[in-house]
């Protein structure tokens, strides 16, 4: 079988000033995943590394660059799945870690569960020696500005009701 990787950096509106960064970010992620596949690595390793690359890239809404919740905090969700045995792991509402997808993989490989959430996910991260980082390190100027503008628009709560994640 010839290896193939496909990545996405999110659907919705990609503003012109972010377009070049998004383009180079998805290319970097795809090439990173493909190089693993070319060396005989697994599809699971390839998708994890590709997603880590985009989580670390502030142009995308995941990891560093995540949008903020109504309190101005980052809460992240992630899932990974292995088609060989239908194994899967996920985390939700997780805070203060750089790469939620790595934590999701640990849920899949180190527990009998499918999904850990919020405080429990963070406790599990600690138990797995995933370093905790200050939440501010995940917040970019762009996500902060976006959050502030949304607060101003609170007088019209129906606006952006169908915003993409």
């Amino acid at each position: 079988m010839k290896p193939v990787i496909v990545v996405h950096g999110g659907a919705g509106s990609i503003f012109k000033d972010r377009e070049e960064g998004a383009r180079s970010g998805i290319i970097r992620a795809a090439l990173k995943g493909y190089s693993i596949l070319k060396q005989g690595g697994s599809a699971l390793d390839a998708v994890e590394d590709a997603v880590v690359s985009m989580e670390d890239d502030p142009h995308f809404n995941a990891g560093c660059g995540s949008v903020l919740n109504e309190k101005g905090e980052v809460e992240m969700d992630a899932i990974i799945m292995d088609g060989k045995n239908l194994a899967s792991g996920a985390v939700s509402a997780v805070k203060c870690i750089a790469n939620p997808i790595m934590l999701a993989r640990l849920v899949m490989e180190k527990t009998e569960h499918m999904l850990l959430t919020d405080h429990g996910a963070n406790l599990f991260a600690k138990a797995m020696n995933i370093p905790e980082i200050p939440g501010e390190k995940l917040i970019t100027e762009r996500s902060w500005e976006r959050w502030s503008k949304k607060l101003e628009a609170d007088s019209n709560p129906q606006e952006d009701k169908k915003e993409s994640g």
Binding site: M1, K2, I14, D118
Partner: protein, 134 residues
């Protein structure tokens, strides 16, 4: 949201999806990305899918598994993706996008939003795009 799907040289498929969610979401809101079948699904018998878009809509139609269901019925990845995205649009008014790889190595990147950034490598050939038709 970001995501990836892949097939390796042993024919195993996998998917991964990660997100910060919706801007100014309620504290504790969880979208599709953490939910199996909605944010992603992978099965060597069919293929793998990762999704992006309006999370609540994707959860209502279990978008990733819906795409694979259509492929199980004989549709190509492209047709299955378009059919599932159209169902989500007409049934619950949601927009989004999917990336798909089949267990034979066919792939697609489709979206009903104005844009979705995507990239793929197959046979050492890199392709990428943001706009429809790119």
């Amino acid at each position: 949201t970001v995501g990836a799907v892949a097939i390796d040289n042993e024919g195993n498929v996998a998917c991964a999806t990660s997100t910060g969610g919706l801007s100014n979401k309620l504290v504790g809101r969880v979208g599709d990305s953490a939910c199996i079948g909605s944010g992603g699904y992978a099965d060597n018998h069919v293929g793998a899918v990762s999704t992006t878009g309006h999370g609540e809509s994707m959860m209502k139609v279990v978008l990733a598994r819906l795409v694979l269901y259509h492929m199980e019925q004989g549709m190509t990845p492209e047709k299955a993706a378009d059919t599932a995205l159209n169902y989500m649009k007409t049934r619950v008014g949601g927009l989004g996008g999917v990336i798909v790889v089949s267990n034979s190595g066919d792939w697609t990147a489709r979206f009903s939003t104005k844009q979705m950034s995507w990239a793929t490598v197959k046979d050492d050939w890199l392709q990428y795009g943001i706009y429809t038709g790119e």
